[in-house]
Symmetry: C4
């Protein structure tokens, strides 16, 4: 719904998880008889199937090899961030212990120093192999600027899902200073599914889907650890963002016959928010 926020200028009312609730329907169903499996499509092979439709966010503070293993065994998929401690250090455990031991006063300086260490490209392959060692699919992420380089390495190491992630993703980026990632060409060059994000808009999601991606991450600014709203004034509440991108997904499917899933990313803080996210994400009332 659009509201005038001043003379000749409208804004749209948007909604987050705390502002909606689910309403029981006229029919109930035995929970055991509900199918919640999920598939990431793969134009170059068989889709990546998940028993539960939940991904762990590619945050350095969330996912390491061990966590990816546990998550995979439960039926979900954890994405390892290729620009974090796991690929900068042979022994990331040692580094994390240093952070834990640091006092409040020095921890920021320590973190800055830790992330100055360059990514060791041989560790990319090593981590992927370790994750695959659990007998589960391996997923990793990089920023667009590194996608071509790391994507190639990851693919050689047998990665199952590659994620290209930035705060705000578009297909059209204006710059005369550097060359932007050509997403269409990148997807064509990869043999595994490529997931791209994050977006919040209908048009952008459509444009990204038309590049041949296998999934789109939805959400700018809703996460608990996210500073985009305060620092940049930027963000769309997660329910509206998800509904809009679900509409893009459904339109793209109707037009192309290809179902590209969206993955709602962030803004969930209670168990009930996950239920709300799943319902909103289906695109059905």
């Amino acid at each position: 719904m659009a509201m005038f926020i001043g003379r000749n200028r409208k804004a749209r009312v948007t909604y987050g998880f705390d502002e909606i609730a689910l309403v029981p329907g006229n029919v109930t169903i035995n929970p055991n008889e509900v199918d919640i499996t999920f598939e990431i499509p793969n134009s170059g092979g068989s889709p990546v199937g998940l028993a539960i439709p939940i991904l762990a966010s590619a945050m350095d503070g969330v996912v390491d090899v061990q966590f990816a293993g546990e998550m995979g065994k439960l039926g979900g998929l954890a994405v390892l961030n290729l620009e974090g401690i796991q690929t900068r250090y042979e022994d990331p455990e040692e580094v994390l212990l240093k952070v834990l031991d640091a006092d409040k006063e020095h921890v920021t300086a320590l973190l800055q120093k830790i992330y100055q260490e360059p990514v060791q490209e041989d560790l990319i392959a090593a981590r992927i192999e370790e994750i695959k060692g659990f007998g589960i699919p391996a997923a990793v992420s990089s920023i667009p600027q590194k996608a071509e380089r790391y994507g190639h390495i990851a693919q050689e190491a047998g990665v199952d899902v590659f994620v290209v992630q930035s705060t705000v993703s578009t297909v059209r980026h204006i710059s005369t200073e550097y060359r932007s990632l050509d997403l269409k060409q990148f997807c064509r060059g990869m043999r595994c599914p490529v997931i791209v994000g994050n977006t919040v808009g209908y048009e952008v999601t459509l444009e990204i889907m038309e590049c041949g991606v296998a999934g789109v991450l939805v959400g700018v600014g809703p996460g608990a650890a996210c500073t985009s709203r305060g620092v940049l004034g930027l963000g769309v509440p997660q329910v509206t963002a998800t509904v809009d991108c679900a509409a893009a997904r459904d339109y793209h499917f109707k037009k192309s016959g290809k179902y590209v899933p969206i993955i709602t990313d962030g803004g969930m803080s209670k168990g009930g928010d996950v239920c709300k996210a799943l319902v909103v994400w289906t695109g059905r009332s």
Copy 2:
């Protein structure tokens, strides 16, 4: 009122007690001259009359035999939960004292152990007789899965009102693993009024009323002790739920000539909320 929460998708604005207030009318009335008596209809006999239109919730922490007696003497009706301490233990008082004495650390484990004890079916009849010993109507509740078994026992013991209660009630439940309660048949088999709940929707309330129930409990998630909203993301604010179900009640009455009362259940935290609930419940502005 429906609002777009995103592209092509509407949600409805709903209201709880804190969001409404009563407005004085153009005519005032001497409080002594207002009739607030209430009747639970009974197709198989005379209705159950109450001096005040208030029920005590079938919660193990609220209603025991003594409480039911006091409430009945005041003109209301307290519902005893048949799956609580009162029917699992000969001497529930002793068990409650143990809970009171337990420290915070062990109380959850203790409670889990207490509720592992099976329901003793002979205690069902005993409790009903104790309540009726106060010279007041006795009301008990069970979950749908136990309704047939406990309903039969309670009826034999002379219960006056039987309540079938679950978080979300529908007439249509899908399951291939077990047989669902046939509500129509159950009501037909009982000689006392059967109250069913909880619901929040117009259609479901109508469907339940068409099964021959004597009343419908309205409310999913609004109670202070209720975790449905946080854990399941499920719930409708109580004013809207009550208004919708009152509309179903009025439509059902118009169509069938049978007045099936609704009982608004939960979400009241102040004295004024009870006044609001009564006004909303009348269905009149």
Copy 3:
């Protein structure tokens, strides 16, 4: 604006002082050149003029003779409650000191005892004379049940304004147990202006004005010391109540040629709220 709060049922959105703000106009004015004098009309004589359009509420904890004197000298009008300590005790100061000295535990019991003492009717005249001794108009209030008796006494003592006040005022009160005050007849029998309240509605305000009152107090439940909202669920936010009653005042004036002021009563907690109240009260945008 009406909103559906559920199936077939609308409620109206209402506004309090915190939800509105004043907007600067296209013309500014030197504050010294604004006229804020106020008149309470008097069909039986000359109007009661005030230099500032503010009354002090007829609350026992607010107005005594001394306060009325100070307020009158500043140009306002304080209303003395005829059912308070001032008319029950020869020396109210002594009683107030006892209240001040009481500890928290016993103060409620003490207050209950203090208000059991009967009103001494000769004190009514005495207090009015004391107030008039300051050379200012005297205003007193009573509940409707006592209005005829106290109104007569107050009039004999030369009172300038008589206020009949109850939580919710209407002209039509239903009772078979007692006789209600006939407001029209009461106003006709008084030689001084009669102010009546409280109301919040357009129709009721009109009906009260048609009885020949000199002013209407507007507000049910907005005051800081008011429990109507929590205990009775009753109340209309003060801005909407004032706007509605101002519309009744303007319509009554158009129809009858008689301007009966409304007095917005309660809900102001900041200096800015007084400014908002004055603007809302004018009935002009």
Copy 4:
């Protein structure tokens, strides 16, 4: 959007920074390639150019000569208040230290005493010269009553921007007691750009622009240090105020061909609010 706040009376829904957020577009841009320079037009000479479009508010507690120098070097413009400590005292530092040393109990009395000291007109020129000594433009402000006198002095001292500021500015001020500032004539008499404020409305902003000003300050009551809302009940949330005044600016430009910038003044408390202010201020969606 207008809402009925009561019978026959509408109010408008307005918005502040916390109620809006920016939404990412379909195209992204390399931040290095965005032009954010800003110009204050000057009918009597060349415009005053700024590298960053940010002014420091003419508050005595914010801007002194040193601060103006630092701000100017960064590309912004700080406005020195001509009725503050800087122009009342040869050595303002000494006065500020006294304030810092004062205990809470005496600080208000001390501040009242400090501001009783008259403005020393020779200090006006001195401060302007000191600021210009940093090789940056100098900006100063006065209230309308002193604008003619101080404007003349400041102009002689070579000031680059002169600001006439009051809580609520209009072109039409009614008074029989004193002569109001004739804004049109004042602007014509000044050789440097004249910025006027504050306003919040479309019509007033237009009327002020038609007097030949070089900019309009927008905002009544939104500042953290501002008491207009609580004490006067006066104020418009800053987003709506800015949008309305931007519409006036655009209409004035269309009609006259002269682009008079508006400067949104107050209500920003987070970094993101500055981004929101810039977007709202552009007048483009």
